[in-house]
Amino acid sequence: MATTASETAGPPDQATLDALRDGVAGVLAEQSGSTAVHAFIDGKRPLDRDLWSQAASLGWLGFGIPDEYGGLGLGARGLAILHAELGRQAAPGPYIATLSAAQAVADAGNDSIRQAWLPRFASGEISAAVPATPGSAALAWSGQAVSGTLRCLGAPDAGVLLAPVADAWVLVELAGADVTATPMWDPTRTVIDIRLQQAKPAALLDDGAGAALTRAMALAVAADSAGAARSITERTIAYMKTREQFGQPIAGFQALKHRAADLATKLAVADEMVAHAAERAAADADIWVMLAKAEVTEAAVFVTTDCVQLHGGVGFTWDFDPHIFLKRARLNEVLVMANPVLRDQAAAGLAAVTQAGRSALELEP
């Protein structure tokens, strides 16, 4: 596989990444805490827009974009950290779509396309829409213009769509386009149906854009799920320490302790899957990113489901947090590609690497 733009910046060191994580976490904890998210969900606060401005001004939207195009060049590892923290606070906004579209442009665009688009993504000037499942349907392509309807991940006011046509990918500006928002169970992300009629693409990218988009989305979704699952587990355990029944905090009941320990163990494994996938994001024919998306999103559904249960009665009420994370985990689970299909593709990749006489499992250089 060719070296891609997101690799060229050179890997950031762990200390840099840890500091960035702390920074992102601190801002999100302050801005997108439980109260703020509930207010957003209940239509009482434009948290999505507030966060977006802040993300732009703090450079988050350029995490994965090379320096020369206005980004920080942190690569997949940096993006994984950002998405995990966004998931952790169930932050509303079109981050997965926009940051992943930027990765696809960075990886598969020629220099003039990068010049034209990456600074706009990095600055937050526009957000992107991308197909919710990039492999499933393509727009019709006349050679001049595209037509068709796509169900996309992205904000209703997305500025640009990255979408597949027959053998290539296009960027289409969305000003004035026919966009319908579909209300989703997950109140923190938006899915939109975009209907195009003879729309002229602003840019044409080769098919590598599809692979890059899928890879970036898969990693983003996996990281988001890991963060979301960890967050609601921590909140659930905190709740269990205060909730008393039978004269003691329910956190003291051994059956619940063992379940919490199993959740913590699952989270530790999920985090490593994301870390491993981020390290290998451009190698090994995407095997590990695809597996991470499949495994971690399913783990997150399991964990968030159990967190509802561990809350008892209040767990399934609107006013408590668990349902927000469960719904986020369930949307994540079906984004990008169905998990069984991802596992099949990972298996095919593994077979190819193995038949080529290589090992996909090396960790040390």
């Binding site: 919710a132 499942t133 169900r151 579909t182 209300p183 989703m184 169970w185 997950d186 899915v191 008393e244 029944q245 039978f246 004269g247 059956a255 619940l256 559904v301 489901t305 509802v308 249960q309 008892g312 009665g313 767990g315 399934f316 009420t317 609107w318 006013d319 668990p322 349902h323 469960l326 719904k327 369930r330 949307l331 689970e333 079906v334 984004l335 169905a338 998990n339 069984p340």
Partner: protein, 393 residues
């Protein structure tokens, strides 16, 4: 000739029930209810109860002395089966009225209480249950809602939660603490409360699936006549055991039969449309595994209903086993349906007419099964301690 007249010929009885359902169940009722206002929901539930009443099928299992038809278990199975097969409405709003109230009054009520309150049920009285409190969920006996004697009344102050359809209820079966100094199981008294009494306030609880099936009761100086106490003062815990035991699989039975038809219809559609998951080894096997569990669950429910007719049934933990296995299965089925529905299945939708047409709604709703009516964690305690004799230490 009414349906009940055919009770001695079970196949004919079944045909009669089926015929009646074919006539009376309005097509498209589900889609209508999915977007119904509260008033429409109530009106529809009342209409359905009235229809069942007209056909003699509102309280067919009650003794004849109290307006029932004294039907056998086998008849009830037929009725539930046919209602499920017809995808007829559930009498959700009347669950407490039809099952828990009689289950309490028959063994513990005075003759006057039975005459007065059971008669109201057939006429459409809605009852709710005031048992759980915000701080007394699994540990019900720790409840603190106070009742203080004042002449020929008791004065109630406190809070109740998870009271299904209490927003629409006429009456409430209420657990209160009358002796705060006694050991927790010994100071509880059991009342019938008129929901229209001054001082009763009900707030609906919004669930994660968007519905509000439960209410929270705020009781401030509510006066209940002393004659409305069921059983003796401070003996309410014992009476409550009858309430809690009264259900023993009846609702789960109808639910399991509904699920059977629902999943079968889903499968027929999938076959007819050549759904992709049918060609996927993993998903197809997962699905047929559910069918084996569904059948086992239906078997188990029949065993439970039969057991209920035998003496000593109340000592069995089969209801807990049925609840634990059935609600977990429901959750896994809904989760499977949610997975295979992909991104489209994540679009917000309430109840849909097509089976599992809004799997996420069903999945979110499945928590009422695993949590309400005694969490599955409490079920495990019961099975281990009462069923397996594992010690409480």
């Amino acid at each position: 000739m009414s349906i009940l007249d055919k009770q001695n010929d079970l196949p004919a009885f079944r045909q009669a029930v089926r015929g009646w359902l074919g006539d009376v169940v309005p097509s498209g009722w589900k889609a209508r209810m999915a977007s119904a206002s509260n008033d429409e929901f109530i009106a529809f539930q009342r209409w359905w109860m009235a229809e069942r009443s007209k056909a003699g099928l509102a309280i067919p299992h009650w003794p004849k002395d109290y307006g029932g038809a004294g039907l056998s278990l086998r008849h009830l199975i037929v009725i539930a089966d046919e209602i499920a097969r017809a995808d007829a409405p559930q009498a959700r709003m009347f669950t407490i009225s039809l099952i828990h109230l009689p289950g309490t009054l028959f063994p513990h009520g005075t003759e006057a209480q039975k005459r007065r309150h059971l008669a109201g049920v057939a006429k459409g009285d809605v009852w709710c249950q005031g048992f759980s409190e915000p701080n007394s969920g699994s540990d019900l006996a720790s409840l603190r809602c106070r009742a203080v004697r004042d002449g020929d009344h008791y004065v109630i102050n406190g809070q109740k939660i998870w009271s299904s359809y209490s927003m629409y209820a006429d009456w409430c079966i209420l657990l209160t603490r009358t002796d705060p100094d006694a050991p927790k199981h010994r100071g509880i008294s059991y009342f019938i409360m008129d929901m229209r009494s001054p001082g009763v306030e009900v707030r609906p609880i919004r669930q994660a699936n968007g519905r509000s099936e439960f209410g929270e009761l705020f009781l401030t100086d509510v006066r209940i006549p002393a004659e409305n106490m069921i059983g003796r003062e401070n003996d309410g815990w014992r009476v409550a055991q009858a309430t809690l035991a009264s259900e023993r699989g009846v609702i789960a039975f109808e639910g399991a039969e509904r699920q059977r038809y629902e999943i079968e219809a889903f499968y027929r559609r999938a076959l007819a449309s050549g759904a992709p998951w049918l060609r996927d080894d993993q998903l197809r096997r997962e699905f047929v595994g559910f069918l084996a569990e569904i059948q086992a669950g239906r078997h188990l429910l029949r065993r439970l209903l039969e057991e209920n007719e035998r003496p000593g049934a109340s000592a069995s933990v089969l209801p807990s086993i049925v609840k634990l296995s059935g609600t977990a299965l429901r959750q896994r089925i809904c989760s499977f349906m949610t997975r295979i529905a992909g991104v489209d299945g994540q679009a917000f939708a309430m109840l849909a007419e097509a089976p599992f047409g809004s799997p996420m709604f069903e999945f979110m709703g499945a928590f009422t099964g695993t949590i309400a009516g005694g969490t599955n964690e409490i079920m495990r305690n019961i099975i281990a301690e009462r069923g397996l004799g594992m010690p409480r230490v």
